[in-house]
């Protein structure tokens, strides 16, 4: 006998869920609820309905999933979870550019003005003012008093003065005689360039002629092959035609013979 009013002695909803999922609970409590199900229509129906819901829930699948770990190659060690933040990447790039700019076109010069270090992307073009060199004071290896008192000090100063005077003298003489050699060099360069261009043109013309000759040869060979093929096909057709003509002629003669024979009869 069954009844529609549930008389389960306890938390019926909790017992139902525990039984539905078969998860935990005392064996005795489970047996008790199982026995109750035999007599309780309401619980039995609800249990069946909830099982149906669970079956339907099993049909719900999330959309396709592309592995985040596989976005890089799996063995390629692209570890997105420890990826450097964008700001850090930008900072690193700027630092790299700064260092690159600093060491690009590095020019170290040691002259009468002392040690000069100049850096920059672009080297100074002729006619444009160069970037101002940054003089660097080289620290003396000895003390000032030691240097002043050195025996070679006077010789060095004299040598420096002599070099400076020769250098300035050379600079003063340069503008007067500089134009003629430059013009000679320009004319010679121009002549060489023209020779090179002429040679290049001749080489290109030879190449072009060679290619044209090859192309004409290939076309002629292909034309010959096509003509031979056409000739062969025509010959075959003519042969077939001739055979057909002969056959027709033989048939005509045969028919003529039959007609004449029948007329005689």
């Amino acid at each position: 006998m069954t009844d529609s009013v549930c008389s389960y002695p306890g938390d019926r909803d909790e017992a139902l869920v525990t039984y539905l999922y078969d998860d935990g609970g005392e064996p005795l409590a489970r047996a008790t609820f199982e026995a109750h199900l035999v007599t309780c229509v309401r619980c039995a129906e609800e249990l069946a309905a909830l099982r149906g819901v669970r079956t339907q829930l099993g049909r719900w699948n999330p959309p396709g999933f592309a592995s985040v770990a596989d976005r890089g190659s799996r063995d390629g060690a692209r570890r997105w979870w420890r990826e450097v933040p964008v700001w850090a990447q930008v900072a690193a790039a700027l630092l790299f550019l700064g260092v690159s700019a600093a060491i690009a076109n590095l020019e170290v010069r040691y002259d009468a003005n002392g040690l000069s270090v100049r850096t920059g992307w672009m080297s100074a073009r002729p006619g444009q003012p160069a970037a101002a060199p940054v003089p660097v004071q080289v620290a003396p290896t000895g003390t000032a008093s030691q240097l002043i008192g050195a025996p070679w000090r006077t010789d060095l100063i004299a040598l420096e003065r002599q070099l400076k005077s020769e250098f300035h003298g050379a600079q003063a003489a340069a503008p007067a005689g500089a134009a003629a050699p430059h013009q000679a060099i320009d004319a010679e360069t121009l002549r060489r360039v023209r020779v090179l261009i002429d040679e290049s043109e001749k080489r290109q013309q030879r190449e072009l002629a060679l290619r044209l000759a090859e192309a004409i040869r290939d076309v002629n060979a292909q034309r010959q092959a096509d003509l031979m093929k056409v000739d062969r096909v025509l010959g075959t057709v003519q042969n077939n035609l001739g055979i057909q003509v002969l056959k027709n002629r033989a048939q005509m003669q045969q028919m003529d013979y039959f007609i004449r024979t029948s007329q005689r009869q």
Binding site: D11, D13, E14, L16, V17, T18, L20, Y21, D23, G24, A49, L50, G52, V53, R54, Q56, L57, G58, R59, W60, N61, P62, P63, F65, S67, V68, A69, D70, R74, A77, R79, W80, W81, R82
Partner: protein, 190 residues
């Protein structure tokens, strides 16, 4: 050789990034599924999944193994989902495509399944998705963890921080709502 989660965690803490990668490969799909079923948006679920592993990686040195690694991950993911729902101030949104592409269906069909069966299956899947979206967050979480991740009542209780009986009540109430909504949906299609 297959390492356990705990062994991989220990190796990851020791600086072996390959071990953490293995953990990601092992758990990203369940975490994504959990996130998707909880918040109902594919893109956001992916973000939650990725954020879960990011947080896990950062917090890994502090992981002392009081709970299973998976439970720890689930907790992080659920917290992120909860944050998402609160931030968005809305119930999970299910956006099934209205138009059905026959070519897609043909590709998705099982070898022994007709297109009609596949359409019916997809309709049912959408109906479940809609019904799940109607549930309060606590009930939905309990059902997702129980149905799709196979956690015990006790594990769910530990994870969400509520008594065992509350978990069972949430499950019962959630399943009851689903039963009613799925029946309505079924009647509507007849």
């Amino acid at each position: 050789m297959t390492w356990t989660d705990e062994e991989l965690v220990a190796r990851s803490i020791g600086g072996d990034s390959d071990s953490f990668n293995e953990l990601v490969l092992r758990w990203e799909r369940p975490i994504y599924a959990l996130a998707y079923r909880t918040i109902g948006r594919e893109e956001d679920a992916r973000d939650v999944c990725q954020e879960t592993f990011l947080r896990a990686f950062r917090a890994l040195p502090g992981f002392r193994g009081q709970a299973k690694f998976s439970s720890w991950l689930y907790r992080i993911a659920l917290n992120l989902c909860r944050d998402w729902v609160r931030r968005e101030r809305r119930a999970p949104v299910v956006q099934p495509p209205e138009d059905v592409d026959v070519m897609d269906l043909a590709v998705a069909a099982e070898p022994s399944e007709s297109i009609e069966d596949l359409v019916a299956r997809k309709d049912l899947s959408r109906a479940v998705e809609r019904a799940m979206a109607l549930l309060p967050e606590e009930q939905r979480t309990a059902i997702v963890l129980k149905e799709y991740h196979g956690l015990t009542f006790q594990e769910i209780a530990d994870l969400v921080g509520c008594p065992l009986s509350t978990v069972k009540t949430r499950l019962y109430q959630g399943l009851t709502v689903l039963r009613r909504e799925l029946a309505k949906s079924h009647n509507a299609t007849l």
